[in-house]
Amino acid sequence: MSQIIFDPRQSKNFAKAKVYHNLEAGIFQTLVKLSYFVFILGVFLFIYSRFSADSIYVKIAYFLVGSSSFYWFFYEFLFEYYLPSPVDDANRADQLSTDSIAIIEESINVTLKNKFASIEPIFLLAGIEKSKEGRYMLLRAGFGLDRDFSNIISSEINKIARIQVGNEPVFSPVTLVCIEEAHSNAIAAGRVEITAGDLLIGLSKSEFFQHVLFELKMDLKDLISVVNWYSLLLAKSKGENFLLKDTFGPGIGRDWSFGYTPVLNRFAININDSIEFGMSPTVYGRKNEIDTIENILAKSGQSNVILIGDHGIGKKTIINGFVQKIVKGEVLKSMRFMNVFKVDTGALLSGVGQQGEIEMRITRLFNEAARAGNIILFFEDFHALISAEPGVGSVNASEIILPYLSGGVHVIATTTLEQYHKSIEASPGIAAAFDRIEVKEPDETEVVKILEETVPYMESRDGIFWPYQSLKELIRVSARYVHNKPFPEKAIELADEVSVSAAKQGQKVINTDLIDSLVSSKIDVPVKEAEGEEAKKLINLEGFLHKRIIGQDEAIKAVASAMRRARTGIQDRNRPIGTFLFLGPTGVGKTETSKALAEAYFGSEKNMIRIDMSEFQEQSSVYRLIGSPPAAGKAGEKGQLTTAVADNPFSLVLLDEIEKAHKDILTLFLQVFDDGRLTDGTGRTIDFTNTIIIATSNAGSEFIRESLQNAVPEEQLKKSLLDFLQKQGIFAPEFLNRFDAVVAFHPLSREQIVQVAQLMLSELAKRMLEKEITVQFTPEAVQKLAQAGFDPVYGARPMRRAIQDRAENMIANNLLAGKITRGQRVLISDKDIA
């Protein structure tokens, strides 16, 4: 085997590419189009010449037809035979595409221009940037969007040490490695030549380009996706040649060999027609599910399929995708002439006058479908037709339908998993007649591919440009922060919203900031990775929380650490942001810490859902917490917790006095702490992954107090406290172990009580300053208030009341009496306070 080289000078392809570039291929293609007209003109002239005595017409006709024929042959020869020919397997230069040859030539030129002796990867990048397709891919990768290409490249060139000046530059070893990598990539992708995209991927072997990718927040996988995305768009833009397509469509046999459908036309919608008339959106992805439906329905005999999945997960989309395949004629032969009718169950079951009319309608519908011979019936929410407990909007037609399912008619049905278990499995015959397909959300890789197909439409519609990073960010934020819809719908909708918003703002390039700010403004939570001011705030979070909380260093440290983990993306995504159990006596700052955290993380104290768990002491009260299913035609009860979290998924949930709740209710929270979700009474899954959950309890207060009096070290206190709670049977070990941190709040010392009083008085002073009155308190006054506001049982809880009664009332009375006026400075001493 000959040794692999890369030598453009010995490449026949390079020589040919020069011919190609010199000839200007575009002109040749334009000339071909022109030659069609010349040929037709020649033929007309020839016909005309038959009626004319003048021989000049026939001569011109001969010339026009002859020259266009000759040109066609020459064109075919040049572009189909002469130019495309990988010649030498051992010389990689022979395996370059014409555009790649231009890139290599350009990189040689740039090297010469910069007076370098060797062609380094940066020069290869300069060459790629000069080519149309290379530039496009670089822009998609976000390269050159914020700075001009030439600036980046020239600054990089300046960084390289110039070895010597030469007229015949050679390829540096690193560049050769890059080209070899490009070749490997082309082979792996099944390409017969090295394209600009392959060269770009090959560049990732150089340290310099790895650094560029790192700066762009891209990796090799992303770069390959960008290159594939370009290939996909290019293939789409060229369209499919009519003669090369696999089929001309479903064929006219569909209409001329099968039956009339008057009953179906009344109670159902022909989805084939909606798709042919462009009334249904194009379906992307979901190939596996669509193929499975096709294979099941193509079976002879009993062949029905039921799609099971939550509402909005894309069951109808899959069926539309299947019908699109039928309409394009891309299905198996036995499926080619099929018409899919979506039965309007509401219309079928309504407006009934006589007993048994529904049954008659259903029988006629199925009879007609069986007679027509090419009908697939699609029932959305199939459970309504075979409900075990028929009520309003539902019947039990399983006995009527069952005979048809065994081979007479094809049926596609959809339902939810819950209804499948409840209604369909209740009729074993019906359940056995269907093949099940469980519809799941597509994963993020699949969503990227779907977006790659949908985003170009938005780009042309709104005149914008989506770099690959923005696509990734879009998927990240929609996965993390949009929970009311499944993928890919939520990503497509968000992309649409972002595109429109960018177009309105006159922004041409969609950057990640725009996506983040749009989502942040919708949900009132920062979605961008913490940086700048916010990062500083996070680092100093303890300080921020201590502005409101006196003492309790351990608690503050635990919650601050959890928040840092959450905002830097280190924590497990499938759990709540943080789960804490705050233990300690009343009035030591447990609730205040929760409020401060809600303000710090979610921007406002209002984003706190407070549930008094003492209201849930009975086992039956669980329904008030998570809701109850509808029963006997009545709507179900709403759950206090589940409804609040569903409405405000970005909240701090404060479970006050958790020890008072029934044990079974505590068990419910195990799933929330572990998986970040809870199924409510109606079967809806509520997402808790964006919540901080804090449970508070007074249990063990006395134990904490005694331990501290005995100077038990902090770590030992925590351990013995947990033992105490378990031994007393207050909390089960599996419950306690689920918390990120169990924090013991200490009783406040005399000094801390004074600090609390100072904190509250400074708040009062701040409020007075708004009225342009400066209020100050003497240390004795603060001491007196601290003493009045402290209670051995309730800690600092009476403090606010004491300040209100003694300080605020006094100031108010003096204000009304005119003793305190605007602009005045007031010093309040212990004597002023009652």
Binding site: A61, S69, F70, V192, V227, N228
Partner: protein, 142 residues
């Protein structure tokens, strides 16, 4: 990366003679490869047309009633049965006529396409001669 296809004029067509001397390679392309490719393309399109005109399914359902519109004769009186029988017969005849017409139309188009498929490769081989002949005639023959 399976969706990535070679683009533009660089479509690679396997050529046994690609690495042979230029003359042999050229003649093999002109006289064999390209005409064979055009012919195979035309054959493929004939197949697609047969499919489009649904000749197979039309033959299978040739004598079925038009739009499968047939009246059931069970429980009918004898004279009604006879009347309905003739109506059903008419429906079948209409179906057969329409389908036969479609089958013939389809077959004619397929035959024309096939003939075209034979003619075009021959024309391609003749293209350079034809061009030279016509240009020569236009200039030198009076």
């Amino acid at each position: 990366m399976d969706e990535a296809k070679p683009q533009g004029f660089r479509v690679f067509q396997p050529n046994r003679f690609r690495n042979s001397p230029v003359v042999i390679g050229f003649f093999s392309w002109w006289l064999y490869e390209k005409p064979a490719f055009i012919f195979s393309l035309m054959l493929k399109n004939c197949d697609k047309l047969l499919d489009f005109f649904s000749i197979g399914i039309l033959l299978q359902t040739l004598f079925l009633p038009w739009k499968r519109d047939e009246i059931d004769t069970t429980n009918l009186a004898l004279d009604d049965k006879i009347r309905v029988f003739f109506m059903n017969l008419v429906s079948r005849l209409v179906g057969a006529v329409v389908r036969l017409f479609t089958i013939f139309a389809g077959l004619i188009i397929v035959v024309i396409t096939f003939a075209f498929g034979l003619a075009v490769p021959i024309l391609f081989i003749a293209l350079p001669f034809l061009g030279i002949f016509l240009i020569f005639n236009s200039i030198f023959v009076s």
